[in-house]
C-alpha cells in the first residue's frame, strides 16, 4: 500500500486530496475572515481580562474599592488625570480607579450575560428538540407557549416585578442584596429569552430528523435517546454557537440598561450600567468618563457581534466561500 501511494505521488505532481471534516472547513473559512479573527481575539482578551479581574488588578496594581477623596475638587472631579498609577484615571465623586472599576464591573456584566445565555440556551435546546422531534400535539402546545412568551412585554414585566421579586428572593433566604438582584435578572432575562433559541432549534431539528442519517439510525433500531444525543445534537452546534455569540452581547447591553435604570445590581458593586449612569451625571464636566465607559461597552458588543457574523459565515454550508 505504502509504496503504491508513493508511486502515485511521484508520477502526478498534484497535492494530496485530503478529506476535510466540516469542522476543518469551517475553521479554514473562519481563519480567512480577517475581521472575524481580530474581533475574536479582542473578545477573548477582554473576556479573559474581566474574568481574571482580581489577578489583572493585582498585576497592574489598581484596586476597585480604594477611595481617593483627597484628590477631588469641590465638584467631585479628580484633579489628577491618566497616569501609570491609574491607567484610565479616577472616577469623579469617589475617586476610585476607573480601570479597576471597569474590570470588576464588566465581570458582573459578563457573569449575568453568560449565565442568562446558558440558561436560555439549555431551556431552548430542550424545548426545541422535544418540539421538533416529536412534532404533532406536543409541538403544538410547546409552540403556542413560546409564541405566548414571545408576545409578552418582557421589558415592562422586568421593570414592574423587580422590587417585589427581589424582596421575595431575599425573604426566602436564597440570596441577599446583589446576589438576589443577579438571580432575578438572570431568571427573567432567560425566562423571556429562551423562546428565541427554542424556535431556532426546533426548525433545525424538523429538517434534520428527515435526513438520511437519522432515518438510517432509526432503521438500525437506535433508541430515541441515541438519535437525539448522537445524531441530532452534534449537528445543532453550528447554529447554536452563532446564536450564542450574537445573544451574549445582547444580554450585556440589557444588563447595562437595567442597571442604568437602577433595577439591576446596586452600588457599591459596579457594572457597565452603573458606570454609565454615574457617567451621565458628569458628562458635561468630565466627558472622558462617559466616553470611556460607553466606548468600552461598544467595543465589547461590537467585537462579539463581529465574531458571531464571522462564525455564521464560516459555518453556513451554502456560503460561497
Amino acid at each position: 500500500m505504502g509504496s503504491k501511494s508513493e508511486t502515485i505521488h511521484g508520477t502526478r505532481s498534484v497535492g494530496v486530496i485530503q478529506g476535510r471534516s466540516p469542522r476543518q472547513i469551517a475553521w479554514m473559512r473562519f481563519k480567512r475572515n480577517k475581521v472575524g479573527v481580530s474581533a475574536g481575539i479582542v473578545s477573548l482578551t477582554l473576556l479573559l481580562l474581566s474574568l481574571c479581574a482580581p489577578i489583572v488588578a493585582k498585576i497592574i496594581n489598581v484596586d476597585p474599592d480604594t477611595l481617593n477623596l483627597d484628590v477631588l475638587d469641590v465638584s467631585g472631579i479628580p484633579e489628577v488625570g491618566i497616569s501609570w498609577d491609574h491607567p484610565l484615571g479616577l472616577i469623579p465623586g469617589t475617586g476610585r480607579d476607573f480601570l479597576a472599576q471597569l474590570l470588576f464591573g464588566s465581570r458582573i456584566s459578563f457573569l449575568i450575560a453568560i449565565l442568562t445565555t446558558l440558561t436560555a440556551l439549555t431551556i431552548g435546546l430542550f424545548v426545541g428538540i422535544i418540539g421538533g422531534y416529536f412534532k404533532g400535539r406536543i409541538d403544538n402546545y410547546l409552540g403556542r407557549f413560546t409564541d405566548f412568551l414571545l408576545a409578552f412585554p418582557a421589558f415592562f414585566m422586568i421593570v414592574a416585578l423587580n422590587q417585589p421579586m427581589v424582596a421575595r428572593i431575599e425573604e426566602s433566604g436564597i440570596a441577599q442584596g446583589n446576589s438576589a438582584r443577579i438571580i432575578f435578572l438572570v431568571f427573567f432575562l432567560s425566562f423571556f429569552g429562551w423562546p428565541g433559541f427554542s424556535r431556532l432549534v426546533r426548525s433545525q431539528v424538523l429538517s434534520l430528523r428527515e435526513r438520511e442519517f437519522v432515518t438510517a439510525a432509526q432503521a438500525m433500531g437506535a433508541t430515541r435517546w441515541r438519535v437525539i444525543t448522537k445524531e441530532l445534537i452534534p449537528n445543532l452546534w453550528a447554529p447554536v454557537i452563532v446564536v450564542v455569540s450574537l445573544s451574549l452581547p445582547g444580554y450585556l447591553a440589557a444588563e447595562a440598561v437595567y442597571s442604568f435604570l437602577g433595577l439591576g445590581v446596586q452600588p457599591p458593586a459596579s457594572t457597565w450600567g452603573i458606570l454609565l449612569s454615574n457617567a451621565t451625571r458628569y458628562v458635561t464636566v468630565m466627558p472622558s468618563f462617559f466616553l470611556i465607559a460607553a466606548g468600552s461597552l461598544v467595543i465589547v458588543v461590537l467585537a462579539f457581534n463581529l465574531v458571531g457574523d464571522a462564525l455564521r459565515d464560516a459555518l453556513d454550508p451554502k456560503a460561497e466561500r
Binding site: D65, G76, Q176, P267, P268, S277
Partner: protein, 584 residues
Amino acid sequence: MSNISALRRAVVVTAASALAVSAVMVAGATSASAAVTPRAGGILTFLEHTPRLDHYDPSRIYTGRDLAFMNSFMTRTLVAYNPVPGAAGANLVPDLATNTGVPSNSAKTWKFTLRPGSTFEDGVKVTCESVQYGVSRVFATDVITDGPGYLQAWLDIPKDADGNSVFKGPYKKDAAGLAAFKKAVSCSKDNRTITFQLNKSVADFNYLATYGVISPVQASKDTGDKYDLRPQSTGPYKIEENSKTQMKLVRNSKWSRASDPVRTPYPDEVVILFGYDEEVIDQIILGDTIPTAVSFGEPLSTNNDKFFSEASMKNRRMNNPDPYARYFAFNVKAMPCLEIRQAMYYSRNAKALLDYAGGSTYAGSYATGVISPLLATDYTPTKVVGPGSADFIPEGNIPKAKALMETAKTKCPADYKKATETGIKIDVRQSVTLNDTIPIDTAAYARAGIKVTFNPISSGYYPTVMNPEKQSDLSASGWGADWANASTVIPELFASYGGFNISQNLGDPAQKAFEDKVNIAMKTTDRAAQSKMWKALDAEAMKAFWVLPTIFGKAQFVWGSQVGGVFFWVPQGNPAFGKMWINN
C-alpha cells in the same frame, strides 16, 4: 416640622421656625426682580424628580416643601405665615380666620372666628362645621396617616385604657366618641366661630393652625384614603389633573380675592412635572430651556458650582441655611447594642460625605444634635457628638470605633455578628448620588469592620420607613422644628407619643427616664427654663445614640429666567411659591 431627606436632593422639607432664625437666613436670600411689578398670566412649571408627592390631603402633608406649596395655592388654613421676604415672613397673619386666634383660660382655650366669603371650589361656603370636620379626620389614624400628631395629643378628649383618644375619627359610627370630640372642638351658633379646648396650656397653639390638619373639609366630599389624590381646594387654584406625569393646577373661579388677604395668584396655571431625572432638571435650568420652570428640589451637588459661579445665573439662584437637622434614625429595636450604634457614628466619614454634598458652602455643617442652630433659643452644641465633643474627628475616629466594636463583641455577640457578617441595612431615598455615597459609606464603615447594605426606596420614602414592619436598621432622615420651640423637635422624635419617632426607642433602657424629663419640659411655661431643659435633653438623646446625627443643612434653589418674585420664605425653609409670577 417635618422630615427631610438626609441626602441632599430629595424632597426638601420644611419649615419652620422662624422666629429665631432670621438674621442669618435673610442675609442669604436673594430676590429676583423685586423692583418690577408682578404680572398675571402664564404657566408656572415645577420640575420634580420623584414620581409623585407623598401626600396631597391637607391632613396628611407634613413635608415642608409640600406644605409650602399646597398652602400657597390650594389649602387655606385658619392662620398663615406672612409670605414676605425677611424676618417678617415668620409673622402669623389671619387667613380663613379674622384674627390669629384668641387664647383664654391660660391658653387652654383657643377661639378663631371665620371671615365671611370663603368657599370651597364647588362654591359651598366654608363654615365652622367644615373646619370641625377637617379636624376630626386626623383622629382616624388608620386612614389619615403621616400628618402632624399634635391635635391627638393636645385636644381635651378623654383617652381609653391604651392612652389613645376615645374618638376614632368620622369614619367609625360612635356617638359617644363624636360627642367627646365636639366638646373639645365646638362651633358657635352662627357657625362662624370655632373653639378648641386643650388638655393643657399651649401658648403657641395658633402656629399649629398654619397646618392643613386644621383646615376645612366638606364631609360630603370626603373620600377617606382617596381624598389624598384629589383634595378640594379653598385657595386660588384647584387640581385639574393629578397623574403619573404631572399635577396641573388651574384657577379656582369660586375663590374671591376679597376673602383672602394672604394669596395673590399670578400664573394662570401651576404645573408640577414628575419623574424628571435630576441631571435633566439641572440642565433645563442651566440652559434656561424652559424659562418659566422652577426646580422643585435642589440642584445636584455636582452642579452647584455651575449654578453659583456663573454670573448669568445671578438672579436665578439662592443658597440659604435651612432649618433641618439631618440624621440617620437607628431602629433601636433592630439595633439594641449601644456600642455598635456608637461605632457606626465614629466610623462614618462625615467629612467625605459633607465634601461630596458641597462642603460648608452648599451642604452645611456637622450636626451636634437634632436641634438646629436656627432654633437659636433652644440650641447649644451638645458636646456629645459633632464639633466640640471630645472624640469627634470629621474623617472618622477609627481607633474609638474599633474599641467600641471590641466591647460589643463580648457584650452583644448576636448584634456584633449581624454588624460584621450579615450587614446592617440602611434605608435611603433612591437617587443617582447613591452611586457615589454608597461606596463612600461602605468603605468608611468597613474601617471598623462594620458591613452595611442599602435599601434604596424610590417613592413614598417616609410612609415606608415610618412603618415599623418595613423599616430597616437605619433610615436616613431629617427634621426641622414645626415652629420656634424645641417642643416640636425633642418629643416628636424621641417620646413614645412623638409623631416622627422612627428610632423605635421605646424598649431602650434610657427611654423611660428621658420621657419623664420631656414631660416636665413640656409642662414648663418659663421659656428660659424650658430651653435649658431642651438643651440638656438634646445632649441626652445624643448620648443614647438613638440617631446618628449628620449635618445641619443648607438648601439651594434655582429657577428659570422668566420666573419673577422668588424669595426665601423663612418659616417654611422654601421659596414662597405663591408669590412667583411669569415675566415674559
